[in-house]
Point group: C2
Chain length 402, copies 2
């Protein structure tokens, strides 16, 4: 489905006239064409903030959310999806970045240390109250307080599990795939390896057998179809995978098809279904959970409206007892999304079993504080902010000047 | 939900070097902010067509669809929703406009006179085959051939039913609303009147009683909540309307909430639920139909990816036995959408009972061939093309030059 990606980023810096030198940073990852459209959307949003006082916004992030997500004219272009929603996410991320930098802590820590009531007051429950109310959210976060200090220490010592997609691309020869699968697991320490599937069933089955032989039975295996199937095709195809004890089958069909995923998930049970990297909003996540349409939820840091929407998605997953294994890769998605997985571990779910952040070992050199992986685990970033700041060198070298 | 619309249009003209002087026209209606973002999206799409030969595209509109909807880089920005999808719709509309103008017929007639196989070959069934296959689509259109000539004549003589939203705005006093409701029905001949609801239940009930008194029992009454409710609130509120014999309750909650609408529709049965003006794609429509989440489907001409997606939505509605009552108003939405309702009457559903095209009596002066309403009915446009061409005067007077 993504034959010719041209990794790009619509990158935003928010400056204030405070003398602290702090810049807030946000971005939208794209795969090429249309990046200029996202930039235009960010520019057009940004105009409204010029001249505003930032402290009231930082003190009440729900106001910033409402200004953007519930702008009645902008809503028409979604509502709450696609280019405009992603641009809104970049702006809200930049504001949260300033908030964390002013507090002198990484974003995951800022979120984990906010009082439950204070955090919930930043969230929007419109269209969600049939499954999650503010009171329930406070209750979840309140229960998450217990053991928080120990989990924070555990995270600092051990990190958060990652998984590797490095071996799995369809263009790789069997030899290259096998060799990468082996080195990613045994040398680099990843506990889970993911392969791409869906072009040809015989190829898929052969590659799965080879990969399983290469990694042994202790390393887990997941596959990703990148939306290539219609519903009935997905069911037939996935059932052929039943002997491989897959950790999940990812993106079997259109991310918009809740009922399609529900049918697939039921038909191929107990093979777990995963999706999320192209899921547009919390309203769609709500329905996937209501319909029991997946086991594994794969939030993406720059698809939705920033930290507040991501937090809601984690709360929803927790309420329905589903695992969140964030999508990452691209440019900066690993840096951005790790904060939410770590916040979840400390303050919501309290666990990492069966949970992983996706990892791809490239494009990290563009960031001032790139992710740090140790023995297959993401080590928590310690620098203040959201880790999204790009280096000056990258900004100059790769700036697209039309 | 739309307190301060600033009616706008991202307007596109496609020219060729043929000496026929034909321009293809498409547009996206917006309500203000973000219109520039849609223009940017259209500009960025347009570049890819410059220098292409148009005849192969017109002969095989599926190729044009694939170039845009399945562009792997652009898909990332949706997929198939929001700004990018709407921009794609404008481009595909402009191409169909050229096709109709070259054939010398209005778009509704072009579509109605295409052979079923020829029309179906332009359509994309990806993600739909679990409910509708190309073979079924051909079969539906083949059955639609019977009596086609008579229906075309009936349409030319009598037009297609419209309904009026003129009376219903929440800002109007009771007196103004009552007076408009009466004049729209008795003088202008509209058989159905729609009021806005959802701010205050007592106000709604009083206005509904007054409107019903004003229009009598022979004129139908519908209401529109513009997405203001959460699911449970919607159920309670709508149940209070049970004595008014409403034709439908429109947009009770988020258009993205299939399962929410399904719950509402079941709970308030037999009051019919309607939605669609902000529904993003055929994949969402498919699910509403599968879940029996509405009775009335309200397609919008510039929300989805142009004529081909609209035709699929009509085919889906027909397969599930639901009525389509298109959203219109704004700027040019009446002009644009009438073609699809008329095509449906002639070639798909063969009926107009319970079906209406929304009508608002303003902004038509901007168009070269504005809609013509007679006794509450839309008279079929006879000029070649899709009726979307704006006058030179409007283009000059209202051009937004930043």
């Amino acid at each position: 489905m993504n034959p010719d990606p041209d990794y790009s980023s619509a990158y935003l810096e928010v400056e204030t006239d405070a003398d602290d030198g702090i810049k807030g940073v946000g971005f939208v990852f794209t795969i090429g064409r249309g990046n200029d459209v996202v930039i235009k959307a960010i520019e057009s949003l940004s105009e409204r903030f010029i001249g505003m006082s930032i402290e009231p916004l930082l003190d009440d992030m729900k106001t910033a959310w409402d200004m953007l997500v519930h702008d009645s004219q902008l809503r028409w272009l979604g509502p709450e999806k696609g280019v405009e929603h992603m641009a809104i996410g970049a702006m809200l991320s930049a504001l949260w970045d300033i908030k964390a930098k002013r507090a002198g802590v990484p974003l995951w820590q800022l979120l984990a240390e906010m009082e439950p009531e204070e955090l919930v007051a930043t969230l929007d429950f419109r269209y969600l109250t049939d499954v999650l109310t503010p009171e329930e959210a406070v209750e979840i976060l309140r229960r998450g307080q217990e053991g928080k200090a120990e989990r924070m220490q555990h995270l600092l010592d051990n990190g958060y599990p990652g998984y590797s997609t490095a071996a799995g691309w369809l263009g790789y020869s069997d030899e290259k795939m096998v060799s990468l699968a082996a080195s990613e697991s045994t040398e680099k320490g990843f506990d889970l390896i993911k392969l791409k599937v869906g072009q040809n069933l015989e190829d898929d089955l052969r590659r799965l057998r080879l990969a399983r032989e290469a990694i042994g039975s202790n390393v887990r295996l997941a596959v990703d179809a990148n939306q290539v199937w219609d519903v009935d095709v997905a069911i037939d195809w996935i059932q052929q995978f039943k002997d491989f004890e897959l950790e999940w089958v990812e993106e079997p069909t259109s991310p918009d098809d809740v009922l399609g995923h529900a049918r697939i998930a039921q038909a191929v049970h107990p093979i777990p279904i995963a999706t999320g990297e192209q899921m547009q909003s919390r309203i769609l996540y709500k329905q996937y959970l209501q319909a029991n349409a997946f086991e594994v939820m794969q939030v993406d840091a720059t698809r939705v409206a920033g930290p507040q929407e991501l937090i809601i998605e984690y709360l929803l997953a927790h309420k329905f007892g589903k695992r969140v294994c964030p999508h990452a890769g691209g440019v900066g998605l690993c840096e951005a999304v790790q904060h939410f997985a770590m916040f979840d571990y400390i303050a919501i779910s309290g666990r990492t079993e069966g949970r992983y952040i996706e990892y791809v070992d490239n494009q990290h050199e563009h960031f001032v504080t790139p992710v740090e992986i140790k023995n297959g685990n993401y080590m928590p970033p310690l620098a203040p902010g959201n880790s999204c700041e790009m280096t000056l060198e990258t900004a100059e070298k790769y700036l697209y000047a039309p």
